[in-house]
Symmetry: C2
Subunit: 349 residues, 2 copies
């Protein structure tokens, strides 16, 4: 393939310390990109993005606040990044050929781009019967995050009482299903009655509740956990974490995957968790984690999850936005309880 | 030995939800106790306490607040409990003889008492060259708590940056010294300039500061930890924990032994920790612990600590109060930064 394409990409024009980023902060621009393979350095690839993963942590890279969050802030005027499924359309690495499909973590949110070939996480087997977009969901980092939290850090036992917040979200939906497959009793929380239904009917949780219509989280947890909580898969932090700490059993585990309730606020304005002392009396282990530190287990995860998916034991729900222009809207949807399951942009059919 | 003694003991007459317990809550009473061994059940011992351990957690059993703390609340009119070093003066268990010295965890704070023989943690070797009171300090639960936090949960490496709060206290003094013996760089915080001196000169910490005369904990930690904190041995919770979470390195460990700043308050009035989100980005593991869950390692600990003490590699500081009547004063001293090292009552010479 040769010639030049007009490629659209999202870049950051201003930081958004508060609220959800808008068109004041993120703008789409069109840049020309050569598809001539001779124009790129050795060990690089020209790729065309097919699917782009939209995740809550991306918002934390646009705040301009260097307050100990996940990764360094995106620089102003730089293209924002995401994990994508991409097709190789030019290769200067003998391991890749035109037409290969790759999972590309932290690549540019662009229609086309040039990336170092060393960065990719895996090549997708062309013989795979699974839809490509599952490599950004059940078989990608969201599924892996759920697996690390439940299976590596959570130590689930048959009969363990497991609570998952943001249970209809991209990670939460798998966390609860993996815990169910280990024989646990699993309850989820989410932000709408429609999602409560989804969690119970499609993801097979034992029960679920809508935290937005509950006035007393403590009473809700007493109701759903008469025998206390053994594992809390935390996606939200804040008030819910505080409520959970009043219901933990001895030696409870709290893998913390994220704290979406906390991303929009400057830390000194966040509501503090006042009952951490309970962690001593109940000997609770709380552990923040990033999937990048567990990549040595990715193969184990992929094998297990692929068989669950093929056997129909895990259900995956996707919310697909269309066209790269939908990034702003799809990112915002993560913070308004309006999406179901994993949010993905389909860049091009 | 036979006859009847007049034994004094401390009992709880009212709960103290706030502040430090006073003579309104704890009263000394005198009860007659038969020393006739035929008067006690099988597998019981009559013991005379020699030393009584005074520890911060004891205060949490007198609040009347069932808020998830360490152990069940002491019942009104019951004798309060502590770990003691006691002499057996009558035995209905063939493993014990009159004159044996035992470490008796959670026994009555009394001059004499009858206890089930199954409860003791260890018999003290009469050939031991170490002073008996060390079995309540370096060789007892405080030393063991320091060892569990640093060596079992802390994973110390040569060069690790270690911070210990309440570093002149009964547990803190050993935590820092054990970390030093593992080749770590160790900084401590405490509540008086005199104790800062003690920590540096007697306990051999690399440096120490008085948190009471510092107005900006964040700035202090920046100064003492230019390369961040790898292990925080937490004895205090609250504001100091929040400040630490702004200075943690990736994969930092926070063994939480206690949160003395939090014991006097009803939990909803405690200051919350607002920056737990940092635990995700830095993949921090925070773990509350009680020594009772680690007793299978007590033998390993005792062997290691005894050799450190005999070789003069660990320094132990005791603050001795005299007579059982001093319990109220000695307990109060734990909450006013007025004591050095481990607080112990010598009941009888």
């Amino acid at each position: 393939m040769a010639g030049v394409v007009e490629s659209r990409e999202w870049h950051l024009t201003a930081y958004a310390p508060e609220g959800v980023p808008t068109s004041d902060h993120l703008k789409l621009r069109t840049v020309p990109l050569s598809l001539d393979v001779d124009s790129i350095p050795d060990h690089h690839l020209i790729v065309q993005n097919i699917f782009i993963s939209v995740d809550p942590y991306q918002r934390t890279l646009m705040s301009g606040l260097e307050d100990g969050l996940y990764f360094p802030q995106t620089k102003l005027n730089e293209v924002v990044s995401a994990t994508t499924i991409a097709r190789v359309i030019g290769s200067k690495d003998s391991s890749y050929r035109e037409g290969d499909i790759i999972l590309n973590p932290f690549g540019p949110i662009a229609e086309y781009c040039v990336i170092p070939s060393a960065l990719h996480l895996r090549k997708v087997d062309p013989a795979s019967e699974l839809p490509l977009q599952e490599y950004l969901s059940s078989l990608g980092l969201p599924g892996f995050a759920a697996w690390v939290g439940i299976e590596v850090l959570g130590d689930p036992k048959p009969g363990s009482n497991v609570f998952v917040s943001a249970a209809a979200g991209g990670v939460g939906m798998f966390a609860g299903q993996l815990a169910k497959l280990k024989g646990c009793r699993v309850i989820g929380s989410t932000g709408s009655d429609e999602k409560v239904k989804l969690i119970k009917e499609e993801f097979g949780y034992d029960d679920a509740f809508n935290y937005k219509t509950e006035t007393d989280l403590d009473a809700v947890l007493s109701k759903y956990f008469p025998n206390g909580i053994d594992i809390y898969f935390d996606n939200v932090g804040g008030e819910m974490l505080e409520a959970v700490l009043n219901h933990v059993n001895t030696h409870a585990r709290i893998p913390v995957c994220g704290m979406i309730s906390q991303y929009k606020k400057i830390w000194t304005e966040r509501q503090g968790v006042r009952n951490l002392l309970n962690m001593v009396g109940k000997e609770v282990r709380m552990e923040g984690f990033l999937v990048g530190s567990h990549l040595n287990r990715f193969g184990d995860f992929a094998k297990e999850m692929e068989s669950y998916i093929k056997e129909g034991k895990i259900s995956s729900k996707l919310k697909i936005y269309h066209g790269i222009e939908s990034y702003l809207e799809s990112l915002g949807s993560l913070f308004t309880s309006s999406n179901f399951g994993k949010v993905i942009i389909e860049v091009k059919k």
